[in-house]
Symmetry: C2
Subunit: 229 residues, 2 copies
């Protein structure tokens, strides 16, 4: 299996956390950044943690995007639209873009425990409007704490996967299940990202209030609803 996961805007805590976890799971990961140097700095840190055998490299965002058909977007919301517009010519046809963006009010100087209203309903739906035709957007990986993702313990969090393409949902649920502790759950259509994104603001509020690293678990669904490692 020669699949490469490209994490665009991947040098922040969210991107590095995912890269670290997938590298440890043996996946081939490309960290994308505005600058190759920053990407390679992030890669060096990931290799240190995941071991020298980790298949992680760093590239400029456009090169990372052009080199893979399994993409993850982990930028702050204020950078999402600009990056997607810039990358438009770089997308491979039929690629999957996993959008983990959360429209926190902190994007415009507000609180990270509050949300912005996005015209399309969610950051994921905004992404769907900005990618070329044929690219499938999947909303996922919004809720797991970046601190926990960047640690060594299992991640006590379910990943709710929203997409209008059941095959893409399946791929992303499998990627989620590569992270110890995580369970992937099919949360239905892309529009449901409206709610899943907001849960992040709720968890950030809980973290501030209770000094924790909150995550969520969905209880009460049949075992077959969950994809775990």
């Amino acid at each position: 299996m020669s699949r490469t996961i490209a994490i665009l805007g991947g040098t922040g805590p969210a991107g590095v956390g995912l890269a670290l976890r997938w590298a440890r799971a043996g996946e081939t990961v490309v960290v994308g950044s505005r600058s190759v140097e920053r990407a390679q700095e992030a890669v060096a840190k990931i290799r240190e943690r995941a071991g020298a055998g980790a298949k992680v490299t760093g590239e400029e965002n456009a090169a990372a995007c052009a080199g893979s058909d399994l993409l993850v977007l982990t930028v702050p919301f204020e950078g999402q639209a600009a990056l997607l517009k810039q990358l438009k010519p770089a997308f491979r046809p039929n690629s999957i873009l996993i959008d983990a963006t959360v429209p926190l009010a902190s994007s415009v100087g507000g609180r990270a425990s509050r949300m912005l209203g996005v015209w399309q309903g969610s950051a994921a739906q905004q992404a769907a409007e900005l990618v070329p035709k044929g690219v499938t957007v999947v909303g996922a990986f919004h809720n797991a704490s970046a601190d926990v993702m960047n640690g060594d313990d299992p991640v006590e969090c379910d990943v709710l996967v929203c997409s209008d393409d059941p095959e893409a949902t399946k791929v992303v649920m499998e990627l989620a299940a590569k992270i110890p502790g995580v369970r992937g759950i099919d949360a239905g259509k892309l529009e449901n990202a409206r709610i899943v994104e907001q849960i992040t603001a709720l968890l950030i509020g809980l973290n501030i209030r209770h000094k924790g690293h909150g995550g969520i678990r969905i209880t009460g669904l049949p075992e077959t609803s969950y994809r775990s490692s």
Copy 2:
């Protein structure tokens, strides 16, 4: 302790489930309804399940409201504003109103997995605008499955409590912890009900998709953040 919990609009599955669980915990509960007869029918069913010693009675909503300073509102969203306006003269000063209303799109013929936009931000904030001055609104009990609440098993769900009054939050967390399996969590200000209410729509969508009775757990907070029985 002579506290009485009045559940207004309490003859539906959400109200009966709470009444049943609190009756079993030894609390004194009044089920309110538009008609005394319907309230008493609900009470008969609750007594059958909770035992003859259960301290549950039925009353018309206004009488139930006037007779207690610990109130719970469990009506469909389309009935919330009208009931609160009707009850306005009945509220005791300094009472606590726990609002469990969720503005599901099904209130206006849409899907129960989608939400309505509420001008005030959430049903709980709408309630706060409609109650007399001095009444404290607390948003809570949105997410636990009514089916599970009406059963005999522990309820695998956390109750996120939102209020601008820390003392009221404490009271409601304690009420939550009376239900086996439930943990009460201080989720901060009333405005956070915006997100907590939406989680219900997400869970309803998951229930439809996966044929389950979904609930949520918050992971990763210190033990002291949770109030459980």
